[in-house]
Amino acid sequence: MKRLARPLASRRRKKPDQTLAAWLFTAALVLGLLGSGCATSPGPPEKGELLTPDGKPRAVLLVRITTEVDGQPATAFSSMLPVDNIWLGLEDFSTGVTATPAELRFLSGETRKEGWTYLLLEPGLHYLAAHEPQSTNVFAYDARWSTCPRWSIEIPNGARVIYGGTLFLPGTGRTMILGPRQLVTFDPARLEIRDETSAAQALARQWFPNLTPMSVQFLKGHKLGDTIIIETPVGK
């Protein structure tokens, strides 16, 4: 009995450590995968980020994204990219008519949950595209970037902070194993731009004090099939 008991006891002692190590290994792997590509820490841009690597100025485009899933208010941006309800992309000279995922910046965790985000853009014409979260294969997901709803904005030379409006992007959703329902398809008839200039002013004063006064230039809706206007980037 003693000879049998000992190995069992030692096995019991050892297993929690090994299981914990396996869990930690898996968690580190998952966090590493989730964290890759969205590692920008929240806050205003660093001084150097307001210039492109080749010295061209970039402006801050501040927008708020709000949404509803099946008629219930939902957050556009949660704490992690893979579970966000809205993904934003940009379209310009380099991309042609197919938007590519935009590098979204956030001021804080709280403003992120409220849907506030900002992008750093060079002067010129840009199209902001909104994409539902990925729920299909990667090919269908990529193809959707050329047909998803979009809005245009022309960043003027010398602009520093522009509020582009609050985009209300409701749609229908699906049940998830964990968490609230997730958006699957936009309701194109209900997409609209709302004016929350005073809230945007307050954020600009708090987070971009050196870049104010903020200007207001609402995004313009762009219908699928309308001509996309592009311009040669400066120096090309």
Partner: protein, 165 residues
């Protein structure tokens, strides 16, 4: 008495890793794709501009308004170069894919697209100058594709200045 535990059963962490590697290998070797080229057919996106559509074009005569009336609004207006781009996509082939996953698997058919562009250049008075149909290389950024074409055009049109006696 750790030594009383058989080495291959005692290390559950190593077993987890081995099992994971086995699953990864099964997924890797159980997956695959097969590309099947198909002859160019109908445009699957946009409207193809064919030679018969262009009979009305006269360099130095046809206006931008006339082009828009006959061909519709362009997909892209390259504003500073005063160029219209009409874009369409045709099916180049299909990709048959299959992925093994645990006790199940998945497979499907994906269209492999080929993108085309018909470019019309206008002068500063919005009068048609020339046109060209191009096939956009797969994987090339749209901006690079346009700039390469523009630079090639410029090089073609460049004429050495007359020599002074």
């Amino acid at each position: 008495m750790i030594s009383a535990i058989p080495a291959d059963k005692g290390n559950s962490f190593a077993r987890h890793i081995r099992a994971g590697a086995l699953v990864a290998a099964l997924v890797w070797f159980g997956s695959g794709c097969l590309y099947i080229p198909t002859p160019h057919g109908k445009a699957v996106e946009g409207t193809e501009v064919t030679l018969s559509d262009l009979a009305f074009l006269r360099p130095g005569e046809t206006s931008k308004e006339e082009v828009t009336r006959k061909l519709g609004s362009p997909t892209i207006l390259w504003r500073d170069e005063n160029i219209f781009v009409y874009r369409w996509v045709k099916q180049r082939g299909v990709l048959l894919w299959a992925v093994a996953s645990g006790y199940s698997g998945s497979f499907g058919l994906i269209d492999v697209p080929q993108e085309f562009a018909f470019l019309l250049t206008f002068d500063r008075n919005d009068i048609f100058v020339n046109s060209e149909t191009l096939e956009k290389p797969v994987g090339k950024a749209y901006g690079d594709f346009l700039l390469e074409w523009r630079d090639a055009q410029r090089a073609r049109n460049w004429q050495a200045p007359p020599k002074t006696p």
